[in-house]
């Protein structure tokens, strides 16, 4: 908390100190009061208890004072937060892409990087984009955090104030390697940044391969994951070239997934049913996919097995 | 138990309520056929609310229940309305 490295830190830290002060005051005060009464009014002293039942004045006092205090806290919390939503028009734009379990940063024009490099004292607007599930983009030193939700256009912005390396975490639980999904933000001089960006190779922004487009449009991913997760059907990850047991005409046989096998699976899914999955869920795509398209799908599946 | 008084509705009154409900149904189906756009949504929901209230008051006997039951039902619908409103605080101001 204690090295606020962006323009937004002051507003957060001020709120923090304010609440901390109020909290310590009340916690210490009330605890002391309780312990004091324990001794002062101990039964050992044999003083009969007094039988009063309340006091309207006191009741009002301790309704109104906390009410005022919480309103003050609310106000500061809001004040510290409001600037976080007001992105200056000249902010540099970077898209953070979250996928299980990796960040990548898109600087436009197909320039993708695994770490976030930023020029010092310049406003950046980060657009947050998720490929699969919810992630959370968090840079503690900058006091910024926003969830990365598929289908949502969330964003955040800040101005880095000091040079150095800062941790970036994924805060929204996203599965197995959630805790491994971290990287660095590096704040550098503007000139260094420009140089770095120039030398960054163009890798991203390549459109989806046709096979993937077909898989998405034909609704395959409703049942087949691309990342190894088991849905209704077996995952496409590593499926090509895999050797596995299928049930054909009620008998278990071992088959290797090759071009022909995939074609049969799509045209006549009931023929070879992968063990552990149910027959009849996948419908035939006979009239919906042409042979050429099936080849494209097969080619794409090969890439998922690194072939 | 038998000391408590129960309101006994007549068969006729039930029949009358049914007639009202059926005509309201006819009304809302008719309105929908007219394709009035945005208004038809409002009308359909309004008619549904009137029908719902009728069922609550007469068929479900709310009219003859204790004041507390009435308040309870009203409060529950109010709570639900508040939930919708607060949810739409998000969706309408995105």
């Amino acid at each position: 908390m204690f090295e606020g490295a962006s323009n937004l830190a002051a507003g957060v830290d001020r709120t923090f100190i304010l609440i901390l002060a109020i909290a310590v005051f009340f916690i210490v005060g009330i605890t002391t009061f309780m312990i004091w009464t324990l001794f002062k009014y101990s039964r050992k002293k044999n003083i009969p208890a007094r039988q009063f039942t309340g006091s309207v004045t006191l009741e009002i006092i301790w309704t109104v004072i906390p009410l005022i205090l919480v309103m003050v806290i609310f106000f500061y919390g809001w004040k510290g937060y409001a600037p976080m939503r007001k992105v200056p028009a000249d902010a540099m734009k970077v898209t953070a892409i979250g996928r299980m379990w990796q960040w990548s940063f898109d600087y436009g024009n197909g320039k993708l990087s695994k770490i976030l490099v930023l020029p010092i004292n310049k406003a950046v607007r980060m657009d947050l984009h998720s490929v699969d599930v919810n992630h959370g983009f968090f840079i503690p030193a900058f006091r910024v955090k926003e969830d990365v939700i598929p289908g949502y256009k969330n964003y955040l912005w800040f101005i880095p104030k000091y040079k150095g390396d800062y941790d970036i975490f994924c805060t929204s639980y996203c599965g197995l390697q959630h805790s491994g999904m971290n990287t660095k933000a590096r704040v550098v001089e503007n000139s260094v940044f420009v140089h770095w960006l120039d030398s960054l190779p163009v890798t991203g922004n390549i459109p989806d391969p046709e096979g993937l487009v077909l898989i998405k449009n034909s609704g395959c991913i409703a049942c087949h994951s691309l990342d190894g997760a088991k849905l209704v059907g077996p995952s496409f990850q590593g499926v090509y070239g895999k050797k596995h047991i299928v049930v054909t005409d009620g008998k278990e046989v071992e088959k290797v997934v090759d071009d022909a096998y995939i074609a049969t699976s799509i045209i006549d899914p009931g023929k070879d049913v992968v063990k552990g999955f149910n027959k009849g869920l996948m419908q035939s795509y006979r009239d919906k996919l042409t042979d050429a398209q099936i080849v494209q799908i097969t080619d794409y599946l090969k890439t998922l097995s690194g072939k | 138990m038998s000391t408590e008084k129960h309101h006994i509705s007549t068969y006729m009154s039930h029949g009358a309520v049914l007639v009202i409900l059926l005509s309201l149904t006819a009304l809302s189906v008719g309105m929908a056929e007219l394709h009035l756009g945005a208004i038809s949504v409002a009308v359909a929901l309004l008619v549904a609310s009137v029908k719902g209230t009728t069922v609550l008051t007469y068929f479900m006997h709310l009219k003859y229940e204790s004041l507390f039951t009435k308040i309870m039902v009203a409060a529950v619908f109010l709570m639900y309305a508040l939930v919708i409103i607060f949810l739409f605080f998000d969706y309408l101001f995105r």
């Binding site: 034909s218 409703a222 419908q283 | 049914l18 069922v55 068929f59 039902v73």
Partner: protein
């Protein structure tokens, strides 16, 4: 609150209490469907055009028919309570039987309606459905979930009413003790009440 008596709770039957319990149960049911209504409301504002298109797909005629059937059945239940209160057991039972028959008609209609959707391959997870525009997909998801859950309640209501008939026959329910019939009546009206809202949401809104 007037009479609290010194007898064991098991021997004492608290008429107001059990009715209050039933009302509270009805509230939970309302909120159960309320959750679905919330989802409907949100998607409907976001995809009104798609919802419009998808809603034309639903059969207004069957919907209207079922509305009428349920309204009538609501009335017959209400009447059967009147019958019990005026000590007319035979009539009460007949009215309840009519209610159950109406409920059956409702279910048969529902069967044909869903069956038709399935013929069009418009069932959850079907290829046709998954390839529809987002809003229509959501509409049909809600359609199946809401009408399905409602149909489940119709079934439960039918069972409850059947039990009531047997209790009337065996003489447990009579003009001096009609909690059971009143409470199953309340439940049945709830089923109707929910349908009153489902009907315009699924069949009418254009």
């Amino acid at each position: 609150m007037a009479e609290i008596k010194n007898i064991a709770p098991s021997e004492h039957h608290d008429y107001q209490g059990s009715k209050m319990g039933m009302w509270i149960f009805i509230f939970t049911e309302l909120f159960l469907f309320g959750g679905l209504f919330l989802v409907y409301a949100v998607f409907r504002t976001q995809y009104s055009a798609d919802f419009h298109k998808a809603a034309e797909e639903t059969n207004t005629f069957i919907g209207t028919l079922n509305t009428i059937v349920l309204l009538i059945s609501s009335m017959t239940v209400a009447m059967s309570i009147t019958a019990i209160q005026s000590n007319n057991k035979g009539r009460a039972i007949r009215l309840l039987l009519v209610t159950i028959v109406l409920a059956l008609i409702f279910m048969v209609n529902k069967y044909f309606e869903w069956g038709h959707k399935f013929e069009l391959r418009l069932y959850p997870g079907s290829v046709v459905l998954t390839n529809l525009p987002k809003g229509e997909l959501l509409f049909f998801g809600l359609y199946f979930m809401m009408t399905g859950l409602h149909a489940l309640h119709v079934l439960v209501g039918m069972i409850l009413l059947t039990v009531t008939i047997f209790r009337i026959k065996s003489g447990h329910v009579h003009s001096g003790n009609f909690s059971l019939i009143e409470n199953s009546g309340l439940y049945w009206h709830l089923v109707d009440l929910i349908w009153i809202f489902l009907f315009p949401m699924m069949y009418l809104i254009t």
